[in-house]
């Protein structure tokens, strides 16, 4: 049981972005990926979810042994993969509650519907954890939300959908420290031995609140360095140049 990424190559027309990426996330683990701009961090999250802008040219992604690369976007989600978006989209006219109900209903056998009472009870409990006002249930998905509210809404979805593996794509970007604490608390509440996390971030700050077990450095479409949580501190302090130098030295 794991999320296994094997020698993953992906491109947009005319440019390869992921160049043989390998990574295995076991349930219970929190992995962080850090890397400079343009290293392929956001591409990785979108490729895993099946965004049609990216073409996978080779490699495999196994979710508990099942290759998900042949699956449609929605199938991957139902198989247990979740992406907290860096820039969550607005869906005018669709209320948050209806959206979540539709997402949960899609996981039930055909013809079955969710128990509305249980649903709202759970929803309200999760919203309380994230300090979200009840009015967010009837508001249109992300429409008119502040940056911090959008990120909280992503974590709310994570909490409601309870995926096996969750990818957080720069969830910390645009958050002030209070919002960051709330969002991190939500994520930490979802940490369990049955769930793996991949936390993609540009800044070490997030990792003070969501403490990773393993930190990877992504550069030029590959994982080039892996270490413990201290690695994040080193990267914050020294930047990425030393990683490059090590790579060059190793290649020489």
């Amino acid at each position: 049981m794991s999320l296994e990424i094997k020698d993953l190559h992906a491109q947009i027309p005319g440019r390869e972005i992921l160049k043989g990426l390998n990574l295995t996330i076991n349930p219970g683990e929190v992995h962080a990926i850090m890397g400079p701009n343009g290293s392929g961090k956001s591409t990785l999250s979108k490729v895993l979810c099946g965004h049609e802008d990216y073409e996978v040219t080779s490699g495999e992604v196994l979710l508990d042994g099942q290759n998900i690369l042949d699956m449609a976007v929605d199938e991957r989600s139902r198989a247990g993969l979740f992406l907290a978006f860096q820039y969550p989209h607005e869906i005018p006219g669709v209320s948050n509650a209806n959206f979540l109900r539709a997402a949960l209903k899609a996981r039930l056998p055909k013809g079955e519907d969710i128990d509305a009472v249980k649903f709202y009870k759970q929803l309200y409990a999760r919203m309380d954890q994230l300090e979200m006002d009840r009015s967010f249930t009837s508001r249109s998905v992300n429409e008119g939300f502040s940056g911090g509210e959008k990120k909280r809404n992503e974590i709310l979805q994570l909490m409601m959908l309870e995926p096996k593996y969750a990818i957080l794509d720069e969830t910390d970007s645009g958050l002030d420290i209070d919002a960051l604490k709330i969002v991190s608390r939500g994520v930490n509440a979802m940490r369990s031995e049955n769930r793996g996390f991949l936390v993609i971030t540009h800044y070490q700050r997030l990792l003070n609140y969501i403490q990773p077990d393993i930190v990877h450095v992504l550069m030029d479409g590959q994982i080039v360095h892996t270490g413990g949580k201290d690695l994040a501190l080193k990267l914050e302090e020294k930047g990425y140049d030393w990683v490059k130098e090590e790579m060059l030295a190793a290649a020489a």
């Binding site: 979810c49 965004h51 049609e52 449609a72 976007v73 929605d74 989600s77 139902r78 992406l83 978006f85 969550p88 989209h89 607005e90 869906i91 005018p92 006219g93 669709v94 209806n98 959206f99 539709a102 997402a103 899609a106 996981r107 249109s140 998905v141 979805q157 959908l161």
Partner: protein, 432 residues
Amino acid sequence: MPSDTPTGLLSIAPARSTSTPAWFTTRSNAAWAEFQSLPLPGLKDEHWRYSNAKKIELADHAPAKTPTAEQSKAALAATEGLKERAARFVFVNDTLVESDTSGLPAGVVCVSFEEALKSHEAALQQHFMKGDLPLGSGKFAALHLAHVKAGTVIIVPKNVVIEKPVEIFHWVVGDHAAIFPHTLVVTGDHAQVSVVDHYRSLEGEGGLSIAIADLVGGSGSQITYAACQELADDAQALHLSSITAGRDASVKSFQVQLGAAFSRSESVSDLVGQGARSDMLSVSLPIGDQIVDQRTLQRHKAPHATSDLLYKNALYGKSRTVFSGLIIVDEGAHYTDAYQTCRNLLNSNDAEANSLPGLEINADQVKCSHGSTSGPIADEELFYLKARGIPDIESRRLIVEGFLADVIERFGNSEVLDTLVARIDEKLVRAE
């Protein structure tokens, strides 16, 4: 078999009984003569741009026959209607088959058109088809006047508030049958009423409905009106409505176009009193080869009035919509707020939405805007929903429902809305 001899509605003279009031017979006869003399609007007629008056096949239709007992029974069985209502009328082929006015407050006139001709002549003479029909269907309106015998006349006296809606069902049955439903709503000062007209086909056969609805709002009164057109797939529908909003009156009208091969609505709002307000709303969901043709006019004749139009079309298949809207602000109609928005969601590459927005401002201190947009569902919106495990078809439906939601919310009348939303959802499932 080509022939120059006029057939169908082109040649069948209306029959009027001897008990019809003389003034009405005179107008009806004059209308018949007018219908015959007026040319069919041509393709170059500005009011028919991107459309075609020949889509209303006059020669192929004849006035609907009096329904059989079975047909009336079947129509009544199919009329689900609202649980909570002030009154209900059911017509089949322009024949009244049921009326229930038990929920009306005292003093309200709410009678069939036929009855009104006998009992409320004065009101009819004052209000019946007094509009100037500026949007291109003069010929069809004349035909309506020549044949009209069914519909509802509602006169709400001063200060009377009717809480629950008045529901009217117009069923058409029989191949090539034409009906001419008429609705007249007149409110006294500070009166309130909501009225829903349903246009439906009893069997899957083509038919033609040429309907007119005139709404006259007295000072400070409120009228809510919905026209829900769900005729059979190969039917043709024309709905001509005029709204006259007096001082501080508020009229909200909602066009729901779901049926017919060709449907055209012409909606005119005249803001004649200071502080008047007209909300003009519409939703359509054309599929297959359906054509929805929408013409609107907002005329500001008094200062400090507001008109706000929001039309939304979700197109599927090879369907086509035409929206042509004009705002005219008269000299002296200062401090006008007039808005016009038409938005089209294209769910297919073969669907086509045409928009012709227009503005004519002759006053100062006005706030006016008009605009139209057309486009497919944004890829990123769809990706977001699918990334939460919602299948493609459900995701698209959620987005379309969301697209239509603000029009529906603005209508706001919950009893009426529940059934309309259910009908829209049924159509959405068909669209897929």
